[in-house]
Symmetry: C2
Subunit: 773 residues, 2 copies
C-alpha cells in the first residue's frame, strides 16, 4: 500500500503534485489543464476590505451532518433506549435553562436601562427646568451632551477594545452561525458580557438604538454556553451534556437561544420560533421545534415574572417582552376593506425609505471600513454621535412650540414644560426625551391630536439620519426600535394628513393604527424579514386582526425594497464576505454541474497514512483544507484507488495530539485506543497544527484512519446539476460533499464556498471570487 | 450491448432469474441465498384487515425530489430569469386562489349549517314548546330523532356509496399525503363535493361532530385542483400552470391548502402554517412558507369578509374562523404562578381521558372493519347514532332541572323553557340544543353559576361516549370540536369544584379559564398535536397570555397519553397499514445498515433496452416495482455494469404509450421526440400497463432511456447506517434511493416501505411485515 499522499483527479493526472487552490474558477469543464498552485495564488485577488464581490476564505463551516465514524456508531449502538430517552430529557432541560437565563438577562438589561435612564433624565430635566426661567439653557445642552457621550464612551470602549464582535445587533452574525458559518468568537462568554454592558450604555446614552436586537445574540451565546456544560473561558468543566459537544447539537441549541432572545425582546414566543426557523433551520424537525418553542415560552415567562416584581405587581404576567406595543383592541381599531390599498401604499413607501436607509448605511459602512478601523477612532465616533444626538434633540425640543395640556390621563414620565404654559408640556420632548420604546408606544396609543404634524415630520427626518448614522457604530445596539420609531412617526403623520384631507375625517380617526402600519412598513423595508416579523408584530400588539394588513405591508416593503438594495443584515453579511448559503440555488443555474462547481484536484489521504504526510498536508497554509477524502488502493495495484471515507482536519489534529501512531516495528495492537470523549474534550477549539510537535521519528510512523473517518460520506456524480447539489448540501447541512466518478474515484470536493460563489446579479448569474483574508 | 434485462446483485449472482419480492426481510446480511419469487410470495402474510403490524404494498409514494432528466434540464436551461420570476408570481397567484376558494367553501359550509340547523332547531323547539304543557313529549322526541336520522342518512349515503375516502375528518389522509404517501382519490373534486355536503349533513343532523377537521381536507383538495390548472373529473384543461404538474410542486400547494383550511376553520393563519409544517414539510423553505402564510391569510380574510355580510355587519372583520372561541381578555383572566401545577394536573387528566377515547375508538374501528364494511350497514349505523344522540340529548334535557333565569344579557338562540318557570330556561338544553361551536363558546364565556355541576358531569360522560362512537362513522366530520366540548365541560366542572372547596372561592372565580384549559387538555390528549395546536388555541382565543399554560397542558397531555396509546390520527393511519415515515429513524437503529434495510436484488434496465423486456418487467404484478435503476455495460464486456440513472414506471408507461421505439432496421433518428408536456399531460393518472397494447413486432424494438432517466440519482454505500439513510431519504423527500457498492454497481434499492418497516415497539426495535392488499 502506498505510503504517500495521493492526489486524485478524474483524469489520468493522478500523479500531479501540489494542490489547486479552491479559489480558481473552473467553469471551462474538466478537460482544461489546471493551473498549478503558484499560478493560482498569484491569480487570486487581494482582498479589498469592502469588496462584496469576494468571498472570504477565513470563515470555516459548521458540520450539521453527524460524523458517523466507527467510534460514534459504537457509542450509539451501546446506548439503550433508556439512554436515548435520558438524552432527550436533558435536551429539554437545557432548553428550559436557556430560556430561563435569557429571560433573566433581558430582565437585567431592562431594569438597568430603566434605572440608569431614569436617573439621567431626572438630572437633565431638573437642570432644564432650573435654567428655563433664568436663561443659560446652553449649560443644560452641554450637560446632556456630556452625560450621553460619557455613557456611550464606556460602551464603545468595551466593544472596540475588548470584543469587536459584540458591536451592532449581532443578528447578522447569528444568521451566519445558523446558516452554518463559524464566525470566530461569536458565542463566547466574553462576547455576552460585553454585549450586555454595551447595550445598556448605548440605550442609556440616548443613542437612536434599541435593546432588542442584542437580546437575540445574547440568547444564542447563553445557548451555546449552557448546552456544552462547561466554559472554556472560565476553565470550568461541569462534566455534563458531553454528548452535545458537536456542531449538530450545538446549532440546534443556538436556534433555541436565538428564539428565546426574540421571545424575551418582543414577548413573542411564536415569532421567536419562526425567526429561528426562517433564519436558521433547514431541516424541520418536530421535536426540535417544540423544544425551541419551550425555550421561548420559558424566556417570556421568566422575564414577565421577574418584571412583575420590579413593577410591584407580583404575579401579573402582562409584560411579556422588553418592548410592549400595548394592546390594540380589535373593536376600536379594526380596519376596513378600502383601507387596504392605503396600507399597501404605505408598505411601498416603507420599502423606499428602508432602501434609502440601507443604501446610506452601506456607504457609511464602507467609509468606516476604510477610515474608522482603529478602536480609538471608533470610540471617538460613537461619542460624537452621542453628542450630536443630544444636541439635535435639544435643538428640536428648544425650537418646538407644540404644547399639549398635561391632562390627568397623560402619564408622561418626564414632562418637559420648557416654554410651554403652566399645566402644559412640550410634545416634541415626549418622543425625544424618553427611551425609544416608550416613544413608540406613545405614537401607537395616544389619542388623536397629541402630536402636531410639524413635530412628527421634523422628528421623522432627524431621527432617520441619526438612526442611520448610529447603526454600525462600535456599540452594541439594535436597529429594530429606531426603525419602528421612524415608521410610527411617519405613519401617524400619514394618518393625521388623511384625516385632514378627507371631508368626513372621523372615519380615519385613529392615527395609532397608521402608526402601527407605518412602523411595520419601515422595519420591513430595512430588515426585509417577512413571516417572523408579521408574527412578532401580531404578538407584540396582542392582536391577530392586523395580521393580514401587516403581512401585505411587509410583503410590499420587501418587494419594493429588494428592487433597490438588499436588506440591512444581508448588506453587512456581504460586506464581511461571508459565504452565506441562501435557500435555493440561483434560478438560472441549471446549466452548471458538479464538474464545474467543485474544487479539484483534491488532497486525499490513504486509509493507513504516514504521519509525516498528514502533518505536511495540514501545515500547508496555502490551501488550509478542512476535509480530506480517504481513499483505499484496490487489491490490484493498477486499479484506481476508491473513495472509502472522509476525515476532518480537527479529527486529524486530535489524533496527532494523542499520538495515535502505529510504529512500523510494532504490531497494530499498540495503537492507543482513542475515545469519542477525546474529540469532545477538544471541541470546539482544536489547537492549530503548528502547536503540535511531531518528532522526526514519529513522522515515519503510520496512522490508521479507519476507525475515525466517516466511512459513508455523501457523494454525487460529476454530472449532477448545481441546484441538485445545492439542495443536498443545504438540506443536510453538509460541510464537504465528495464528487465521485462512475467507478467511485474521488474527482472533486464541493464545499460551502463553491456553492456560495454563484449568485444572481443584475447581469444574470455571477460568480464571486474567493480571497484569502 | 446486451439486449436483455439484467438483474444485478452485488454478489456474483448477476444472472439470477426472477426478482425477489420486497416483502422478504433481509436481516441476515448479504451472503445468504435469497428465496425465489414463489417462495417469498408464499411466505408473505395474508392481510388481516385490522392488523397494524403490517404495511400495505398498495400505497405508492410521491416523488418530492425533482426528476432531473435531460428533458427537464433542457427546459430549465432554456428558461430565462424572467421566466422563473413569472413562475414565482404564478405560484403566488395560485396560493391566493387557494386561500380565496377555501375561504368561500368555509363560508358556504358555515352559512348552510347555520341556516339548516336553525330551521331544524326552530321546528323541534316549537314542537317541544307545544307539547310541554299538554303532554306527549314523546312525539317531540320522535320528531327530533327522525329529523336527525334523515339528515344524517343523506350524508352517510353520499359518503358510503359515492366516495368512502371522504369519511371522517380527512386529517389522517392529508397527513399521509404530505408525508409523501399517495392515497388514492384523496384530492379529487368528487371527494370535495361529497365532503362538503357530508359535513353539512352531519353537523345539521346533530351528531357529536365538528365542521373544522373537514376544512383541512377541503383546502387540500382545492389546492390540488387549482394548482394543476385542469380538472380530470370534469375533463377540462385550462392549459395553465402546466409547470406545476408534478408531485414536488403539487405537494407544496397541498400544504398551502391544508394551512388555508386550518386558517379558515379556526381563524388561525399562523396556526395553519405551523400545522402544515408540523404534519408535512420536511425541508423548510422560506418562500414556500411565506406563500403558505399568504394562502392562510387570504382564506381567513375571505371567510371573514363574506361572513360579515351574512351577519349584516359588512366590513367588520372580527369573525376570522368557523369557530370563534371569543376573546379572552388578559386583564380579567390572567393566571397566577400557583395555578400552573393545577393546569399540569388537568393536562395529565386530559391525556388519560384522551387515551381512553382513543383506545375505545380503536376497538370500535376494528369492530367496524370486521363487521360494518358494507355501505348500507354503514349508513344504518350512522342513522342509529343520530337517533341515539337525539334520544340521549332529549332524555338529558328532560330529566334535568337546572333552570337558569333568562336574563337580558343571555343571548340564548333557542332557549328551551320546558319544565322551568316562566322567564327561565333549561341549562342542559344550552349545551345540547345548539351546534357544538356555540356550546363551546358558552362554556368558555358565560359567567360563573350558569351551569350546575351535575349538568356538566352528566354532559361530559354522555358526550364522551357519543363522540367516541361517532368518530369513524361513514360521515364527514371532525373530532376537534367534540374533544374541545368534552374538555370544556369537565374543565368548567373542575373550576367550579375548585371554587367551592377553597375557603376564599373568589380567586378561582373564572370557570371559563378552566374550561379553556380543559378543552386544550382533552383535545391534546386525543390528537397529540403540540406546537400548531398551541398556536391555534392562542389565535382562536385572540390572547397570547395563555400561551405558556396551554403549551404545558398540551405537552403533559401528550406525554401521559403517549404512555398508553398513540394519537387518534396515528391509530387510524396504522390501521390502514400506511407506510408513514416519522421524523427520525428509531433511536436504537444504528446497528442496521443499508445492506439489511434495502430490497435486493433489484430489477435493473439497460440504457438501451428491448421493449419486450420493459413490458414484461412492468407487467410483473408480483413485484409491481415503480422505480428501476438504469445500468450501462462497461466497454469491456467482463466489466460489471454501472449505475447510470433511475427511471420510473410512470415514465416508461408514457414512453410505451407514445411508442418511442428505435426500430432495429432504421437509424436512431426516427425515434419520436417526446416533450416534457407529454409527461405532464399524463400526470397524475398514468394508465396501467395492461391498457397499453404492444405488438409482437414492437416488442423486438429497442428503447433509448438516456434522455428520460434521472441521470444523477442519489446513492448510498452499503455500510450506511439506517439513521443516515433515513435522514437523506426524509430530508430530500425521496422515493427511491439506490444502494451502490464501491465500484458503483447497483446492489439494492431503498424505498419508503423499507424504512417505514422499522419502528420502536414495546420490545425495542420491531419490524413490520409487508403485505399485498
Amino acid at each position: 500500500m502506498a505510503n504517500i499522499t495521493k492526489k486524485v483527479s478524474w483524469s489520468s493526472r493522478a500523479d500531479e503534485s501540489g494542490v489547486t487552490a479552491e479559489g480558481t474558477p473552473l467553469l471551462n469543464g474538466s478537460e482544461q489543464p489546471r493551473p498549478s498552485r503558484q499560478e493560482s495564488l498569484r491569480g487570486r485577488p487581494k482582498e479589498i476590505p469592502h469588496n462584496e464581490k469576494l468571498l472570504s476564505l477565513k470563515f470555516e463551516s459548521l458540520d450539521y451532518d453527524n460524523i458517523e465514524n466507527q467510534l460514534f456508531l459504537e457509542e450509539e449502538r451501546r446506548m439503550s433506549y433508556m439512554g436515548f430517552r435520558c438524552l432527550e430529557i436533558s435536551r429539554w432541560v437545557v432548553c428550559g435553562l436557556i430560556g430561563f437565563l435569557t429571560g433573566l438577562i433581558a430582565c437585567f438589561i431592562d431594569i438597568a436601562v430603566e434605572e440608569l435612564a431614569g436617573m439621567k433624565y431626572r438630572v437633565v430635566k431638573e437642570n432644564i427646568d432650573n435654567f428655563t426661567e433664568v436663561g443659560g439653557l446652553s449649560i443644560s445642552l452641554i450637560l446632556w451632551a456630556v452625560l450621553n457621550s460619557a455613557i456611550v464612551m464606556m460602551g464603545a470602549i468595551l466593544v472596540a477594545f475588548f470584543e469587536p464582535i459584540a458591536a451592532g445587533s449581532g443578528i447578522p452574525q447569528i444568521k451566519c452561525y445558523l446558516n452554518g458559518v463559524k464566525i470566530p468568537r461569536v458565542v463566547r462568554l466574553k462576547t455576552l458580557v460585553v454585549k450586555v454592558c454595551g447595550v445598556i450604555c448605548s440605550v442609556v446614552g440616548g443613542l437612536a438604538v434599541g435593546k432588542e436586537g442584542p437580546m437575540i445574540h445574547s440568547g444564542a451565546v447563553v445557548a451555546a454556553g449552557v448546552s456544552q456544560g462547561r466554559s472554556t473561558s472560565l476553565k470550568r468543566d461541569f462534566k455534563i451534556f458531553e454528548y452535545f459537544r458537536r456542531d449538530t447539537e450545538k446549532r440546534d441549541f443556538v436556534s433555541a437561544g436565538a428564539a428565546a432572545g426574540v421571545s424575551a425582546a418582543f414577548g413573542a414566543p411564536v415569532g421567536g420560533v419562526l425567526f429561528s426557523l426562517e433564519e436558521g433551520a433547514s431541516f424541520w424537525n418536530q421535536m426540535l421545534t417544540w423544544r425551541i418553542f419551550f425555550a421561548s415560552m420559558i424566556s417570556t415567562f421568566t422575564l414577565n415574572f421577574f418584571l412583575s416584581f420590579y413593577h410591584n405587581k407580583p404575579g401579573d404576567l402582562s409584560n411579556p417582552g422588553l418592548i410592549n406595543f400595548g394592546r390594540f383592541e380589535s373593536d376600536s381599531g379594526a380596519y376596513n376593506l378600502y383601507e387596504i390599498p392605503l396600507f399597501i401604499a404605505m408598505g411601498a413607501f416603507g420599502g423606499l425609505l428602508g432602501a434609502l436607509f440601507n443604501k446610506l448605511n452601506y456607504w457609511l459602512t464602507i467609509f468606516r471600513i476604510r477610515y474608522v478601523h482603529r478602536p480609538c477612532l471608533q470610540v471617538m465616533e460613537a461619542m460624537l454621535v452621542a453628542a450630536v444626538t443630544a444636541a439635535v434633540s435639544f435643538t428640536m425640543i428648544y425650537f418646538s412650540n407644540d404644547c399639549q395640556p398635561l391632562g390627568s390621563e397623560n402619564k408622561e414620565k418626564y414632562p418637559l414644560q420648557l416654554f410651554c404654559a403652566d399645566g402644559e408640556y412640550n410634545s416634541m420632548a415626549t418622543i425625544f426625551f424618553n427611551t425609544p420604546e416608550i416613544s413608540v408606544r406613545s405614537l401607537f396609543h395616544t389619542q388623536a391630536g397629541t402630536y402636531d404634524p410639524l413635530t412628527l415630520s421634523l422628528f421623522t427626518i432627524t431621527y432617520f439620519f441619526l438612526a442611520c448614522w448610529t447603526y454600525g457604530l462600535a456599540v452594541s445596539a439594535g436597529v429594530f426600535i429606531p426603525a419602528l420609531l421612524i415608521g410610527a412617526a411617519w405613519g401617524r403623520l400619514f394618518g393625521i394628513l388623511l384625516a385632514s384631507i378627507t371631508p368626513n375625517g372621523s372615519i380615519w380617526a385613529d392615527p395609532g393604527k397608521y402608526a402601527l402600519i407605518g412602523a411595520a412598513a419601515q422595519l420591513g423595508g430595512v430588515v426585509r424579514m417577512t413571516l417572523s416579523l408579521t408574527v412578532i408584530m401580531m404578538e407584540a400588539t396582542g392582536n391577530v386582526t392586523y395580521g393580514l394588513p401587516i403581512m401585505l405591508v411587509l410583503m410590499t416593503a420587501k418587494i419594493v425594497g429588494d428592487y433597490f438594495v438588499e436588506g440591512l443584515y444581508d448588506i453587512h453579511i456581504k460586506l464581511q464576505s461571508v459565504p452565506f448559503l441562501h435557500w435555493d440555488a440561483p434560478a438560472t443555474s441549471h446549466w452548471l454541474t458538479a464538474r464545474e462547481v467543485m474544487s479539484a484536484p483534491v488532497t486525499c489521504l490513504n486509509r493507513i497514512e504516514k504521519v509525516g504526510t498528514i502533518v505536511d498536508v495540514l501545515s500547508n497554509t496555502s490551501t488550509n483544507h478542512n476535509g480530506f477524502p480517504v481513499v483505499m488502493q484496490g487489491a490490484d495495484s493498477d486499479e484506481p484507488s476508491k473513495l472509502c471515507g472522509l476525515i476532518l482536519r480537527s479529527q486529524l489534529i486530535v489524533l496527532l495530539k494523542h499520538k495515535v501512531f502505529v510504529e512500523l516495528a510494532r504490531s497494530r495492537l499498540t495503537q492507543r485506543k482513542l475515545q469519542l470523549k477525546d474529540f469532545r474534550d477538544a471541541y470546539p477549539r482544536f489547537p492549530p497544527i503548528q502547536s503540535i510537535h511531531v518528532s522526526q521519528d514519529e513522522r515515519e510512523c503510520m496512522m490508521d484512519l479507519t476507525e475515525f473517518m466517516n466511512a459513508t460520506p455523501y457523494t454525487v456524480p460529476l454530472e449532477t446539476s448545481l441546484p441538485r447539489v445545492f439542495k443536498l448540501f443545504r438540506a443536510l447541512g453538509l460541510r464537504h460533499l465528495v464528487v465521485a466518478d462512475d467507478v467511485n474515484r474521488v474527482v472533486g470536493l464541493v464545499t460551502r464556498k463553491d456553492l456560495a460563489r454563484y449568485h444572481l446579479g443584475s447581469h444574470g448569474l455571477e460568480e464571486l471570487q474567493l480571497a484569502q483574508t
